[in-house]
Symmetry: C2
Subunit: 341 residues, 2 copies
């Protein structure tokens, strides 16, 4: 019963927030119903109010309202492995069919074996090889269509749901609140720029031009019919992780963000760069401390260490020192997914 | 008297169009007063009407309304040399003061000599060297401030006016008309992305995140005070000219544009890429055929050949064949600059 009421409230919010969400409409109710009352929620509401209050000391002109969100582990689940890697593994048989010689080469032989234990032991170098052959060689339109098709059909192993169901509802509410207050919301991801663009508009309401990610070069060519195509090349232009995040922000956006949200040491430099500018600034980090509803793998604050361990103690220390807000999934979110608890 | 009336009308338009230009406000009058009645103007108005007519056969969803403009020779004067090169030459003495050994090295010695004839004979390789030392090595904020200061003070040799006065009024009207109809207007320039971003918001109402240009890498570092900075490096990421234009559009925008406006063979691939997609598409090319009010240097259509000659016969042929609109500065524009005729 309580769940039904909550579901109904979320539905109302989703309908109200889609399309022409006005500042007024959101002001009428709680714009962050999945956020529990507490420090993090209050900091967000204070930041939004202060930076949009015309004539106030912390006012930020609309054109400077840039908010950047990491994706994996910040907007959706990144465990047990990044979703894009699952796509790459699923695509290996397609590539091998087109290039049969690869079936006898590593690491493709391992992937084709379907042996999960062996696949789990693949090195970073192996993963780069797999990414190179599965993410390049096709034209950008074909790639986008293939990713869109895959992500509509693939299911995650734990919840048996589409990966896009593993997007955190509190973050959708936060992005909508920011947009309703004139912020441009960007995704700044270590994942592939073209991969995330294939579904970001549909699931995050973030258009392709507001997705910054790891990007390879493309080559302008003509197909057999003489039509221009852009072919994805195995040539890295931007590794959008760690120091690469502010570098990518400069390349694509050209302004220092006012707000950044991450969850790992890959987001450290983005948070530093965001908060080092003048005027009102805010950085937030999501701590994964909820093994029941999601995963608990932040080694900070005495939690057990883990294989991924993307939130080291040093990042927690820096957050405390610089006033970045650390968001506890367990206590700051009363709900994690739109379909669950 | 007639001129005064025209100036007053332009002022009214500028005031009406700045800030909250509504579709209705523009619909009340002629949104393109500097465009003479003729094919080009009619094609623009037809395109805007057709692509925004809800339920019509050529309707384009708002999120897909992307319009790309080349800068040099399309939005402002590119003769006798690109404005950014003037900036580089002006910056050589500053660089030489910091690195005196350069004074005895070519091509810096030639630039320092002030000998216009020798400077005019510098090779492309020399220009690349000059660009490398004058456009890199500093942090991106310092560079932006320096360009903004320079462009406010520098004067062009022919009209003795700021370079930003050499922006074509008809193009400002066109960009405003497109924006008022839901188009995002982008600048897609062979010039430096960081250079154009330094003034694009002020003079074109195009924010930094909507400027795609030739881009070098930046490196994330900490300054002496421990603050993060992005240092401009002499490492080319994107040569945003010719085939590089659609490649840059994909990198920064990630969508195929609906509208493209260029003026030279550097814009050919951008026009091809734009018009090869499905649905309503439009490409336009500006022909420089007005030596009195600006310059005449298009060799197409029997005009005399010239040193720059950026509009070759082959481009004119392709435009005719593909239905791209060729805009004559002489006959399609009743006015070129906001301050003149």
């Amino acid at each position: 019963m309580d769940l039904d009421r909550r579901r109904f409230a979320a539905l109302v919010l989703a309908v109200a927030a889609s399309g022409s969400t006005s500042r007024r409409a959101l002001a009428d109710g709680d714009p962050l119903p999945s956020w529990s009352d507490g420090t993090a929620k209050r900091q967000i509401l204070d930041f939004v109010k202060a930076t949009t209050e015309s004539g106030g000391p912390k006012f930020v002109p609309p054109e400077e309202r840039i908010a950047c969100f990491d994706q994996d582990g910040t907007l959706w689940v990144e465990q047990p492995i990044y979703t894009q890697l699952v796509y790459c593994f699923d695509r290996v048989p397609v590539v091998v069919k087109a290039r049969p010689a690869l079936a006898n080469e590593e690491p493709f032989q391992t992937v084709m074996s379907g042996d999960r234990a062996r696949i789990a032991r693949l090195s970073m170098n192996d993963l780069v090889k797999i990414a190179a052959v599965t993410l390049t060689g096709m034209d950008v339109d074909a790639f986008r269509e293939d990713v869109a098709k895959w992500i509509a059909e693939a299911r995650d192993p734990r919840w048996k749901r589409p990966y896009t169901d593993l997007i955190y509802l509190p973050q959708l509410e936060l992005m909508r609140l920011l947009r309703a207050n004139g912020y441009k919301t960007y995704i700044v991801t270590g994942g592939g720029q073209d991969f995330v663009r294939a579904y970001a508009e549909r699931v995050y309401e973030v258009p392709p031009e507001q997705v910054v990610g790891t990007a390879g070069g493309v080559k302008y060519e003509y197909d057999a019919a003489g039509r221009p195509v852009l072919i994805k090349e195995p040539r890295l232009l931007l590794n959008d992780d760690k120091a690469g995040k502010p570098e990518g922000i400069h390349l694509v956006i050209g302004r220092r963000p006012r707000f950044a949200f991450g969850n790992s040491s890959g987001d450290r430099e983005m948070c530093q760069y965001t908060t080092a500018g003048e005027g009102a600034r805010m950085a937030m980090l999501l701590l994964h401390d909820d093994g029941d509803r999601e995963y608990a793998y932040g080694p900070a604050r005495g939690l057990p260490d883990s294989r991924v361990g993307t939130f080291p103690e040093a990042l927690d220390d820096e957050a405390q020192r610089k006033g970045w807000s650390v968001v506890s999934m367990k206590t700051d979110w009363n709900r994690v997914f739109a379909w669950g608890n």
